[in-house]
């Protein structure tokens, strides 16, 4: 397992991982501060989103608490023009590529099913059916091969793709098929598995008896395991293998060993299926406090941490305010993008509902605020 930061925040590079250590030596203090700021920001946002769900402002929230190291580290290891195919918990990765957090709030509030522009953000829509996005990423990467956007050595030209999924998704056939298609086509691609130990209530042993980073070997995709709570290791390992992919060396499977500190979603009660001792064990390995220890050892003072804490409060207040300000979607939203080209049945049904609603004088009945639409997996 690649680990560059000890639990106490001491940086050291084991000889066999020198290639990753070199990538950290290229970073400057400003990069370290950015990593910390974003991890703290996304955690503060996560707590605020959970509170908003509890207050009925969102149908559901999917917390990523505990996985900030894996997400911010890997997110910054992805090149600015590379494409990202997430699952549904990648809020941290999203902010590394400039996705507006309110897009994610809107989705979980039930305003839409996603609705951000993946061509613009290069961060694709959340995939709720597990593993499906891995195939989309592979297809996209095949397209890069066909276009000659791989292995030319021109940094303006070459691109790669990364897909995120969890330990639970590795059981889905689509992940295996994606590994196979990636290998056959030697795609410029990283498979990034956040093994957070739990798929709702099922421990990782329910999904696999082989370490996840070795699951690609049989398909011809080499794998590596990284400490997912070590933001520097996650950055370096992702950057190295994305660079290799862009350079035409083919796909890699990265398993980031981490832990879902929170519930699967706000509909879940993890106290029913796991021990408090286990949670405490992982809390002691928290990615943010570990990195804070590192930064303090680098001489970063209290002022910085105060500033980050204050910035978190500001963001939380902004998200809260923006959530309250969200308007209800127009009924047309249900119909307008089912097809790209006109479709008579959809047009007919839209016209019918518009007429029906206007005769009733607008929305006469709405579901109670705060009604949950249940869980996602």
């Amino acid at each position: 397992m690649v680990q560059l930061l000890s639990v106490d925040g001491d940086f050291s590079v084991p000889k066999e991982h020198a290639v990753y250590g070199e990538l950290i030596r290229d970073l400057r203090e400003a990069d370290f501060l950015k990593f910390y700021r974003d991890m703290a920001r996304i955690r503060r946002f996560d707590h605020e989103a959970t509170a908003l769900q509890r207050q009925g402002q969102m149908g559901l929230w999917v917390p990523a608490i505990g996985q900030e190291g894996a997400q911010i580290g890997s997110g910054y290891g992805v090149g600015p023009n590379d494409h990202i195919f997430p699952s549904y918990r990648e809020h941290g990765v999203a902010i590394t590529h400039g996705v507006d957090l309110m897009s994610i709030v809107k989705m979980y509030r039930g305003v839409n099913h996603g609705g951000w522009n993946p061509h613009e953000t290069r961060f694709h829509l959340y995939a709720i059916v597990l593993g499906t996005q891995a195939l989309h990423a592979t297809g996209y990467a095949m397209g890069l091969n066909f276009e000659g956007r791989v292995g030319t050595g021109d940094p303006e030209n070459d691109l790669a793709v990364i897909t995120y999924f969890g330990d639970g998704a590795t059981a889905e056939g689509d992940v295996s098929e994606a590994l196979l298609f990636a290998s056959i086509n030697k795609t410029p691609q990283v498979f990034f598995c956040q093994n957070n130990q739990w798929a709702i209530s099922s421990p990782v042993g329910t999904q696999t008896t082989v370490p996840i980073y070795r699951r690609g070997e049989g398909f011809g995709v080499p794998g590596i395991r990284v400490d997912g709570n070590d933001v520097l290791a996650c950055y370096a390992v992702t950057k190295k293998h994305m660079d290799d992919a862009r350079g035409g060396l083919g796909p890699t499977l990265i398993e980031a060993l981490t832990y879902r500190i929170g519930a699967h979603t706000t509909s879940d009660d993890p106290s029913k299926y796991r021990d408090a001792d286990e949670v405490a064990h992982w809390e002691a390995r928290d990615p943010i406090s570990r990195f804070e220890k590192f930064l303090r050892k680098q001489g970063i003072g209290q002022d910085f941490f105060d500033e980050v804490a204050h910035a978190g409060d500001v963001i939380a207040a902004e998200v809260r305010e923006a959530t309250f300000a969200l308007t209800e979607p127009a009924l047309e939203n249900m119909f307008d993008h089912v097809y790209s080209e006109p479709h008579p049945l959809v047009e007919e049904q839209k016209a019918w509902l518009q007429k029906y609603e206007s005769e009733l004088g607008g929305h006469s009945s709405k579901p109670d605020d705060g009604v949950s639409y249940g869980g996602t997996r």
Binding site: N112, H113, G114, G115, W116, N117, P118, H119, E120, H124, L125, A127, V129, T132, A134, L135, H136, A137, T138, G139, Y140, A141, M142, G143, L144, F146, E147, G173, D174, E177, A178, L180, F181, I184, N333, D336, H337, V338, Y339, S340, E341, H343, P344, L345, V346
Partner: protein, 327 residues
């Protein structure tokens, strides 16, 4: 004078694919055994020689992977044409088709377009083993976000495949496999009509027979038989199963007052269920008889030695004609 050639349906699809690939370099063709072999029905024969292995290539035998990667390629700006080798092999891809391909445009509020064509040889009548003779079109017609079409003759096959490829929406392209070798004149100059419109192939005043795909020929045969008995059948090939050109059917039924809907698939919750319901709604005061449906049975597609009993033929259509005229 228009430029016309005689082609089989298989060759017409081949020619249509080649035309699209020549016109648009973003068109890719892939699936199981489509490259050197040309597919198990030879529909893609010769395309490898003309376009090379970056435009047409064999996929691993993994249908979900074929459609999932087609989606990714479409996101990158390609126009993938994926072949599913046989109707009964499409189900491993069902999740990618129904939950992803059909929904991504809606999920992205229009930012993503999905110009993907899925070619599926379908239907029975070739004496095949299990899973090679099915008619699964209703599953896909039921799914919002997909378009579903099926040509019945060579000219339509040539043009509809090109129109499907040009569509910015996903199109399920069901090919009537037992008619692959049926020849017809193909007008190479001019598309006959828009993709999602129906065609009247024979005019008549007594009974409207609506069908599509492999059953069109059967309906035309029944019309010949009926004519000898002094009964004039009007035969409509709907060509598009989603959306359905109801205006075309309504216009006919208002004249004839009688409607038979026929297909190979079992009739329970089928394309004919939808047409019967809709026509009852739209033509209530014009109908002289209930809408009668003629289809396969609601059983797993039978073993080859029983398929003649399963598949509706001209006699079964005539039995329905007698019933609908008895009112």
């Amino acid at each position: 004078m228009s430029n016309s050639v005689e082609l089989s349906i298989a060759k017409a699809i081949n020619a249509g694919l080649a035309k699209s690939m020549r016109d648009n370099e973003k068109v890719l063709v892939f699936g199981e055994d489509v490259a050197r072999l040309g597919g198990v029905f030879r529909v893609t024969e010769g395309l490898l020689d003309e376009f090379g292995d970056k435009r047409i290539f064999n996929s691993p035998i993994a249908e979900s992977g074929i459609i999932g990667t087609a989606i990714g390629l479409a996101m990158r700006g390609f126009s993938p044409v994926a072949e599913i080798q046989f109707d009964g092999f499409i189900y491993p891809a069902f999740n990618q088709i129904v939950s992803q391909l059909a929904k991504l445009t809606n999920r992205s509020e229009g930012f993503l377009q999905m110009p993907v064509v899925i070619r599926v040889p379908y239907g029975g009548g070739i004496g095949a083993v299990e899973h090679h003779s099915e008619s699964p079109e209703a599953y896909f017609a039921h799914t919002a976000g997909l378009r579903v079409v099926s040509p019945s003759n060579a000219n339509d096959a040539y043009w509809m495949i090109q129109q499907a490829i040009e569509s910015r929406d996903p199109v399920m392209f069901f090919e009537p496999k037992r008619r692959y070798w049926q020849k017809g004149q193909v007008n190479l100059d001019e598309a006959p009509q828009p993709l999602h419109s129906a065609a009247t192939l024979r005019s008549g005043s007594d009974v409207t027979v609506v069908t599509y795909g492999p059953m069109v020929v059967t309906a035309l045969q029944a019309a010949e038989v009926a004519a000898t008995e002094g009964i004039n059948l009007e035969v409509i090939d709907i060509r598009s199963l989603s959306p359905i050109d109801f205006n075309h059917i309504v216009e006919s039924v208002k004249r004839t007052g009688r409607l038979i809907v026929a297909h190979e698939a079992g009739t329970f919750v089928s394309i004919s269920s939808e047409i019967a319901a809709k026509i009852a709604e739209l033509c209530f005061y014009h109908l002289e008889a209930p809408v009668i449906r003629v289809g396969g049975f609601d059983v797993p597609y039978p073993a080859a030695k029983l398929e003649e009993l399963y598949l509706p033929d001209a006699d079964r259509l005539m039995e329905a004609v007698d019933r609908v005229l008895a009112y």
